[in-house]
């Protein structure tokens, strides 16, 4: 009787929530792995096992390496500035008495908006002739690139939007981390007459390094999965210059219905993310001070 009650309890508390978790998270990860060894095209009921052929096709295709390069470029150029701006905003806000909540809210507000809607607004801002950005650049007599329609600048446009959207989010974490640094540390610096740069270099940056590690990992996973802004602003173009691995995956799976290759690519994306996260954790011992 006691045993039945115990199992019933577990069935309820663990069993019920586990159903959607298994159905839409755990099992799909393995099914995806299995699908990656087939040549299934989604429509026909038949498929055959091709073993590692999909992986071979991907790893020998130029598209893959171009997308890998784009992903790496996009990730690095998004993650690093996001973190720098986050720390800059948070340091400026530290010790601000009046209006800090308002300023913080303004800086954070892009995070709350839908990426799809804001990508449309940015598409308008990036318009070559009438867009806000080029008109401003014109006033300053700076070069006016054609942004989204030029394969040299399209990725930069996507990067700008992504940094704009996430910098305020990083700021929130840094603001919290900075508020935990004891004020005395800076007072010692004041007495010894250290510069702002020395304070940052030897006090602030080392003491917020756990936050930096956390933000790098989360933003990196986020950057690898960026999709909305690319879909709205460039659809991977022009000439594939903004096609990232995830975008290539989307096109393979849901435009060409080449499920075998798509799932193989998704496995590679998972592997890449896992390896990067592991490397970051592993090397972090050298620069993160707890």
């Amino acid at each position: 009787m006691e045993l039945i009650r115990r199992y019933g309890l577990l069935l309820f508390f663990v069993g019920i929530p586990l159903i959607p978790l298994l159905a839409f998270w755990f099992i799909p990860m393995f099914v995806s792995l299995w699908l990656s060894t087939t040549d299934w095209d989604y429509i026909s009921p038949e498929y055959s096992h091709v073993m590692l052929e999909n992986y071979q096709t991907i790893l020998t295709s130029d598209n893959f390496y171009a997308a890998l390069k784009n992903t790496a470029f996009f990730s690095v150029m998004t993650v690093i500035p996001t973190i720098i701006f986050g720390l800059l905003f948070a340091s400026l806000l530290k010790n601000v008495m009046k209006g800090s909540t308002l300023l913080k809210s303004l800086l954070f507000s892009p995070w709350i908006t839908p990426m799809v809607a804001m990508s449309i607004v940015w598409t308008w801002i990036f318009q070559p002739d009438v867009g806000l950005l080029n008109q401003l650049l014109g006033l300053l007599h700076l070069p006016q690139p054609s942004w989204l329609t030029d394969s040299d600048t399209a990725m930069w446009s996507i990067i700008i939007v992504s940094i704009w959207k996430n910098a305020g989010w990083a700021m929130i974490f840094y603001a919290d981390a900075l508020s935990k640094i004891p004020g005395e540390l800076y007072e010692v610096g004041d007495i010894e007459g250290t510069s702002w740069w020395q304070n940052s270099r030897f006090i602030t940056i080392p003491l917020v390094s756990p936050t930096t590690l956390f933000l790098i990992i989360i933003s990196l996973i986020d950057a690898i999965q960026a999709y909305d802004q690319i879909q709205v602003m460039t659809q991977g173009g022009p000439a594939g210059s903004t096609r990232t691995l995830l975008y290539l995956y989307y096109q393979m799976a849901f435009e060409q219905f080449n499920m075998g290759q798509a799932t193989a690519l998704s496995t590679l994306i998972v592997l890449l993310t896992g390896v990067l996260a592991f490397l970051l954790f592993y090397t972090s011992k050298k620069w993160v001070h707890y």
Binding site: L9, L10, F13, V14, L18, P20, L21, A23, F24, W25, P28, M29, S32, L35, F89, L92, V96, T101, L103, S105, L106, L107, F108, S109, P110, P114, M115, V116, A117, M118, I120, V121, W122, W124, I125, D129, V130, Q135, L139, W164, G168, W169, I172, F173, I217, I221, Q225, D228, L246, Y249, Y250, F254, M259, A262, T263, S266, T267, I269, V270, G274
Partner: protein, 279 residues
């Protein structure tokens, strides 16, 4: 002298902060201004900052071309259903992870931990096939069902449940409370603010979600706002004179979220900094 240096320093700091804040919100302001301009104003070189007369008719024009109210209703209702189910299911499993003893508990927790780190994209193809087998493609139910498991919410709730003092749980048990009562009468009330924050963040990310819903819904009356907005943009975007209408549609999409943020901004900011790091 020191005082003066200090004031000038903080003056510089304020000016810099105000400029940065304006730059960050400017795309939002620009969107709103553009939505109230005429086509001539929006295309004028050099640009005009303010519309001469406010063109409220742009909103009516956008609503005439696509049923944005319906899209927003679809998004709101699916997001609310998802959030409610997520909170119920996550609090159950978080209760089991923190209060019950069973075999495979650490395996379960580690699997959740790993899932949190991995790209969701890896699940799209199998989940899509599953939904199609269940006959739930092109339905809002399909979107709800495929989103009810949230590793993020499970994480936050587990963390919060761990903070509930043991004495309180034991006191409730000694008064004869069973597990259901402990969950409902002790854990959930004690973790109200975490549950609220998790719901808030989850609601916003579901309302803003695009990729997965865009794969599921195909018929217009089921579009979520993000899907409907992007289809509207691709359909009418090639005609130059529709930019004010597109901006009006954007304003309609973004304003509900901005209102939510204005009302609850302290919750968002505090919630993210308090809970995010522990996650």
């Amino acid at each position: 002298m020191h005082e003066m240096l200090h004031t000038s320093k903080s003056f510089f700091r304020y000016t810099f902060l105000i400029i940065l804040s304006l730059i960050m919100v400017f795309p939002l302001i620009w969107m709103m201004l553009s939505s109230l301009k005429t086509t001539e104003e929006i295309f004028s070189v050099p640009l005009t900052l303010f519309p001469e007369t406010l063109q409220w008719s742009n909103f009516a024009g956008a609503l005439e071309l696509a049923p944005f109210w319906l899209y927003m209703f679809n998004s709101a209702i699916t997001s609310v259903c998802i959030v409610v189910l997520q909170v119920i299911l996550s609090s159950m499993i978080a209760y089991a992870l923190t209060q019950l003893k069973f075999r495979g508990k650490s395996l379960l927790f580690n699997s959740i931990l790993i899932t949190y780190m991995l790209p969701a994209a890896a699940t799209y193809v199998p989940s899509y096939i599953l939904l199609s087998k269940m006959g739930l493609l092109d339905s809002l139910t399909g979107i709800v069902i495929s989103n009810v498991a949230s590793v993020f919410t499970i994480f936050l709730l587990r963390q919060a449940f761990l903070q509930v003092p043991k004495e309180m749980i034991e006191a409730a048990r000694s008064e004869g409370a069973n597990d259901f009562t402990v969950l409902l009468k002790v854990m959930i009330p004690m973790c109200k603010s975490t549950i609220f924050i998790a719901s808030l963040i989850s609601f916003v990310s579901m309302y803003n979600n695009y990729l997965w819903p865009s794969l599921i819904v195909k018929s217009q009356e089921k579009y979520l706002i993000t899907v409907g907005l992007n289809r509207f943009f691709t359909n009418v975007g090639s005609f130059a004179d529709t930019w004010p209408l597109i901006m009006a549609a954007n304003v309609l999409t973004v304003v509900p979220l901005l209102l939510l943020f204005v009302l609850l901004n302290k919750w968002f900011i505090k919630g993210i900094s308090d809970n995010g790091l522990k996650g």
